[in-house]
Assembly symmetry: D2
Homo-oligomer: 363 residues x 4
Amino acid sequence: MPNSFGKLFTISTWGESHGPTVGVVIDGCPPRLPLTEAEVQAELDRRRPGQSDITTPRKEEDKVEFLSGLFDGRTTGQPLAMLVRNADARPEAYAEMKEKFRPSHADYTYQTKYGVRDHRGGGRSSARETIGRVAAGAVAKKILQLAGPVEIRAFVTHIHHIAAPSLAHFPTLAEVEASPVRCPHPETAAKMIERIKEVRAAGDSVGGMIECRVRGVPAGLGEPVFDRLEADLGKAMLSLPATKGFEIGSGFTGTLLKGSQHNDAFVAQRGRVHTATNNSGGVQGGISNGEEIVFRVAFKPTATIMQAQQTVDLQGKATELTGRGRHDPCVVPRAVVIVEAMAALVLVDHWMRHAAQNRTFKF
Amino acid sequence: MPNSFGKLFTISTWGESHGPTVGVVIDGCPPRLPLTEAEVQAELDRRRPGQSDITTPRKEEDKVEFLSGLFDGRTTGQPLAMLVRNADARPEAYAEMKEKFRPSHADYTYQTKYGVRDHRGGGRSSARETIGRVAAGAVAKKILQLAGPVEIRAFVTHIHHIAAPSLAHFPTLAEVEASPVRCPHPETAAKMIERIKEVRAAGDSVGGMIECRVRGVPAGLGEPVFDRLEADLGKAMLSLPATKGFEIGSGFTGTLLKGSQHNDAFVAQRGRVHTATNNSGGVQGGISNGEEIVFRVAFKPTATIMQAQQTVDLQGKATELTGRGRHDPCVVPRAVVIVEAMAALVLVDHWMRHAAQNRTFKF
Amino acid sequence: MPNSFGKLFTISTWGESHGPTVGVVIDGCPPRLPLTEAEVQAELDRRRPGQSDITTPRKEEDKVEFLSGLFDGRTTGQPLAMLVRNADARPEAYAEMKEKFRPSHADYTYQTKYGVRDHRGGGRSSARETIGRVAAGAVAKKILQLAGPVEIRAFVTHIHHIAAPSLAHFPTLAEVEASPVRCPHPETAAKMIERIKEVRAAGDSVGGMIECRVRGVPAGLGEPVFDRLEADLGKAMLSLPATKGFEIGSGFTGTLLKGSQHNDAFVAQRGRVHTATNNSGGVQGGISNGEEIVFRVAFKPTATIMQAQQTVDLQGKATELTGRGRHDPCVVPRAVVIVEAMAALVLVDHWMRHAAQNRTFKF
Amino acid sequence: MPNSFGKLFTISTWGESHGPTVGVVIDGCPPRLPLTEAEVQAELDRRRPGQSDITTPRKEEDKVEFLSGLFDGRTTGQPLAMLVRNADARPEAYAEMKEKFRPSHADYTYQTKYGVRDHRGGGRSSARETIGRVAAGAVAKKILQLAGPVEIRAFVTHIHHIAAPSLAHFPTLAEVEASPVRCPHPETAAKMIERIKEVRAAGDSVGGMIECRVRGVPAGLGEPVFDRLEADLGKAMLSLPATKGFEIGSGFTGTLLKGSQHNDAFVAQRGRVHTATNNSGGVQGGISNGEEIVFRVAFKPTATIMQAQQTVDLQGKATELTGRGRHDPCVVPRAVVIVEAMAALVLVDHWMRHAAQNRTFKF
């Protein structure tokens, strides 16, 4: 099931950029969770295009409609399906893409794999697919908020060469949302916005990095071997469009430390075991240790640029293509919401898996 | 199934460091594949401890025994089970670890999750678990060799601060195996070995990075949304002990490029579509595009060091622990074989998934 | 994923009797399949309530809407989502059921399991859930028709005590559809209809049996151990509301034969291996042998009857309940379409699984 | 994973009749379960050939060896692998079967599907594969015994035309084991044994039926749609060699009742909700209702008979074959243990699934 994610809290998404709808069905949702459309809509609104002058001007209301699984304001334990209708379809803007493969897009690989593709706006490879993830992520976040509370906060640390100073505190949602670029360091945010506007003016694009922190996760989530918490978080992030890298805790930089510097000493604090440092990023042996979970994701520059590019057509002949349509010159700020959604989905799923094996029976 | 990996070519591993055996069963193996124990043993020998003076002196023959699934030298399509007996068990060396949590190991998280743990040598969290992966990987490699041929070559690029120059050609196996540190650049390899010996002498440890290149993969492998090829490769690598990061193609560095620099122009060559550059790392929209697949994995320094470290005991009281037992001061050289094994497993699985959806029926 | 079925051709259904919609998403659908809404609608029309005077008078158009996965009249290999809106919702008819558990319905078990339930019309336990199965089954049937052609024909053999004579030929669709009771033996069909009208007049209900035959299936589908073709067909049928039994080939009656009578001798016919008899029902060792697949399913009498019944309420106090709402006095005739749909889903899934393991690589 | 069963308590079996070993690995086993090899051996001894003069004289000790997952007499939550070595291999007895397909066996379908087969003793299709199931079932039974206690009791009700009177009470294990035919009604058991000896003397074989009852199962196990408890029990039973049918509760006979006769009235007893009758067989809407679970399984006569039979060879030419080797003239008595094992596996798996969705989070 290539379009499903999660073992016990499972989401299946559907939909294309310019098809009738995008949607998601959650299977395995715990019953009795209080839930409103407004709570899901709030997350979709954070993801929505056209939020600010640094995102795509594509106009989409992205209004969620609940299709099943709710009764008297609570989940019933049955599948919870939600959809959003695609409103602003302008397929004529994409006619050229029917014949030519856009560089660093999925056009060529889809065509080769399936022998057919919905070329309009990238079809299934469009980031509109993530609407279903964000809607399901809103449900997962609600669960975590009531269960922990677990707080998940993603934010932009790098845009192109502009890097935010490392953050001493766990940022508030307000700090992140204060700027359309979703970097909680105001001066850096201002520079990032400027850079994005520059590249857009040049018909170019940039990428960047997102850091995600999670606090309130109990020790014990994650599985020892293949389904380590960092492996599933990594897969979740690398399944997002435009991602090229993932690291947890000390990450790639940790390779520059010796063991004596990298190891996180255990300390007893307030009757609980903690670690003095957090190079582990909150996960040891694949299992959460109760510390803050910290990971980072790299996003490449948007593939669509408003410049002439060399490519080939359906017949394999050399040609040229200039980007059209409405695109973000930088997808990173909007991806913040999607990173949070995916993290929430992984955590709820592992929480249920942990309980199944370790809490069902008492010996 | 936390101890299983792969959807159609599925492996399930079992075993602990100091239990009776470690093993693996492959479910879904294609029938009629010619296979010998010697072919599997050859890969296990590359992974085996005690290969050189920079690895652990633990003496293990790691002799594979086939348990099922072979008949007249060919696979039958039935489960192929293999095991290795643990020979050099010295549990007395681990008595102290019963009571104390080793920093940056899995002791604390296992104890918290399960309420019980096999403390001897790390139990299930020991890297001996990867024996099953390497044995299964040998089978996957054989399949790829006959099917493509697909070649998978991993090698060490960084140990601590020592970095190999970037490699212009696809290295041969002989070049990689020429040095015990498995860096195909001889001068750098010599420096790496020296560094490893230094840290071992100091009772310390170091980490590093592995690059893996794969050539001969046809376009079309990988799924569009959650099971993107890079997402499954990332999960595979992040499921290995001691990994902290994964990147594909341009990776984290790619965030410093603009779209106009990063995009891989399509070109027609010898009747086939290629890309002029390979920032995509061989995967676009989650699907292989026929170019070389290139990814990198970060490994932290070995957690076990021969120095006194601050920790807590089972009762949560502060105490001190000094590493004992026989350990690699640097796991990266031996991990090369495991990285290749996991890459092979991912590719065979996706090849079968691709064929199932796109080659079963013709419309 | 309790609401998903199939490993490679996977369907996930959602929806309740009186919620906004019922629907389904197919994941893993082969690309380039020509498909129209009309083809799906035709199967839904066969399942629809209000078709004749022996079914429920509930008026539902059950108009299918495609949500994704189609482009230019062909599947794209991406998720194919479809929904039907619930039109004739009369929740007031169900007020009493909020407080009282209907005997032999799912009310008590849902309430106990989830601590909440959508009581309106049975909620998720309503047979309206099967709309998604029938819609997905229509797609699977289309695949089988183009691939084989494989023909699937289910029909009613028993209603209450009335049994049709055993059928010498593979019945045509027209023969089955000739009567609203879907028994291809006209005289028996007439008696069955009469019986159903009798019990309805008495406010009572009856059950019966369906036989399903499949021809054109190649040898080789099915897996040797747990996922035997008959095991997956059995699970598919026993997952339908109101089913109490499943048998294949000689079934329960086969226990009365000796091995020398029961064994199906192999014979060579027209250059192919056949069996002289078909007590195996087309499956040997879990794998199709190319003969006709024949199985039977038992359906209990409809639980809802228009008579006073003893039951308990939410507080566990004894009370009485008389069925209301609009119900089929016998679900068997409409279940014929659903049995065919489930059989089609199992076969397409196993066809893809077979190809994945045995046709991807050639050794 | 055709050789795996269960979603959360997952078993994977391996091994052929005349290969080196048969075995199983359990993934997801709850930690801290006290377990000894003797407990598993006891169940294997009940399944073992050569127990009595009505079973095959094949001599096998079937001695279980634990390979992993146990520490200090308790499960660790890690994979629990177990194997049995095949001792009494006499492949020369099977030489003829290399060239000829045995009627109503899996020889032809395996050869067709895989293009290769281990013909010795049926290879993977041999009932020796069930050793892994019984070993894993012993673990599941232990869990259920400590958790409920849940008691699972299977027994033989029919051998050929000989039927035991229906049983008023839940039989004890001693009553079942009192006779080698495992029918708890002594007079009937005597007749069954006589019949089996008769057919064996004639070189023929017989089948029969097993009933299985389970008490102590809490209400709430099972999933509403595809993974109904009866669907998963049915699949489990139909995955056993030689099974041709499955029914639960009233089963096929229930089709002869009217709704007013078939419905199970709810009654309040001792502060709990019960049903006055149990036509539902303990499952309603796919979910256990707390009543006794009752189902029946039909087994065909053993395919191997000591009589000349018409068949074809590998080249598709007509030939004749007379059974050789050591076989049970009736597999039903030994299957009792396997039916119990599969029921236990289904129940533990569903118990964990239920807890995961409904007990992890409290709202």
